[in-house]
Symmetry: C2
Subunit: 231 residues, 2 copies
């Protein structure tokens, strides 16, 4: 079946995201080293984030709340208020960060929008994602935008059904095997994986749980048009 | 034009919400009184929330971050870490709170779903709103659900256009003049206002800015079916 609809993930597929989280997490490590030199900040923060995921969902506000919780716990409450204010300000800075597109994104979307219907299907905090899209300058490329609280077989199925899209004519393009590739291939759609330089631990998928067919891996978005012809 | 589509706001229209915020805010007042007896906690928190609105948007996570910021500022950083942990836990408790329906909601929606297409159009945090809807037991009543980061003329216009709804056949039902009544009437739709026992200060609209026609005020949702016939 020919491909009619091409959907893109946003964070780390069209614009940089995880590097901002990594940068802030490194700063948190430095900040807490002064108060608790032996703590494994990365591990403790990850534990807190996963414990809070079902309550907070994804996004910068959730990350900020988890950083504060981790800082209070790791320092046994000895972290000074001024440092907590610094953590709050990091969160605000991340929310204000300009949307920095990955290389080749603008040109590729422009080219592909001639022959395909393009969707943005992104996950995370509604307010934050809308604001990033607005600042990206890409909004008019998309025939539709879906911001999901989580990407799984059910949420993709709802999007396709609501939009009257057959899974066989649908391709999802993104950097996350867990969110962009596995559930779409399970639904009978196809997927293209474009790994980003860093991946949040939670998004990893063991190689043996990956689908055998129905998806390809490329290294930059510029390869997408020719890959779609072979998919 | 006959009414075909009836859309409902969620928070404080179908289920209790603002009372949970008020309850937590009263607890914050008590907590901070010990550290800063003369501070006007309500006013300072409101200032912080409004200052953060364009960055955080609506919802419990935003409220929690603003409570922490306010607590740090009002106490000049002397608030103990254990109290900050208490504030974080309040936020989590609010996120876990069962969805408590207002009186008459279940029966009214059931009756109205026979003759109208029902939508839920709610504002706030995506993850939190989806979770509340799931716990409400009302999900199957709605032909569609729209969770918006803000409710204004533009966001309503996009919803109607995406769903192929004519404003003349559309009625919005909600507790907020600012979010549920004014923008919908401006678009040419109709609205029904059902005031809730408390309204967040930010949602108030001066009487002289209210539209003259196109909306009604009722006191409980049970009056809605008969009101629609007169609207």
């Amino acid at each position: 079946m020919p491909i009619k609809v091409v959907a893109f993930d946003g964070d780390d597929t069209l614009w940089h995201n995880e590097t901002h989280f990594n940068f802030t997490q490194a700063a948190l490590r430095d900040l807490l080293r002064g108060h608790a030199p032996n703590a494994d900040v990365d591990a403790r923060l990850f534990e807190t984030e996963i414990a809070n995921l079902s309550l907070y969902g994804y996004g910068i506000k959730s990350f900020t709340l988890s950083m504060i919780e981790t800082a209070l716990e790791i320092t046994d409450g000895t972290i000074p208020a001024s440092d907590l204010k610094v953590i709050l300000d990091w969160g605000k800075r991340m929310l204000r960060e300009p949307t920095e597109l990955l290389e080749g994104v603008r040109e590729t979307l422009l080219g592909m929008s001639q022959n395909h219907q393009l969707l943005l299907i992104t996950k995370g905090d509604l307010f934050d994602q809308e604001s990033k899209l607005a600042r990206s300058g890409l909004a008019e490329r998309f025939a539709g935008v879906e911001i999901l609280s989580d990407k799984n077989v059910d949420s993709y199925r709802r999007v396709l059904s609501r939009r009257g899209i057959d899974a066989g004519e649908f391709v999802m393009v993104g950097n996350s095997l867990r969110s962009d590739v596995v559930p779409v291939v399970q639904l009978g759609g196809r997927a293209v994986h474009i790994p980003y330089e860093v991946t949040w631990q939670h998004e990893h998928v063991p190689e043996d749980e990956l689908p055998k067919h129905g998806w390809r891996r490329i290294s930059t978005i510029a390869e997408l048009p020719s890959t779609l012809e072979e998919l």
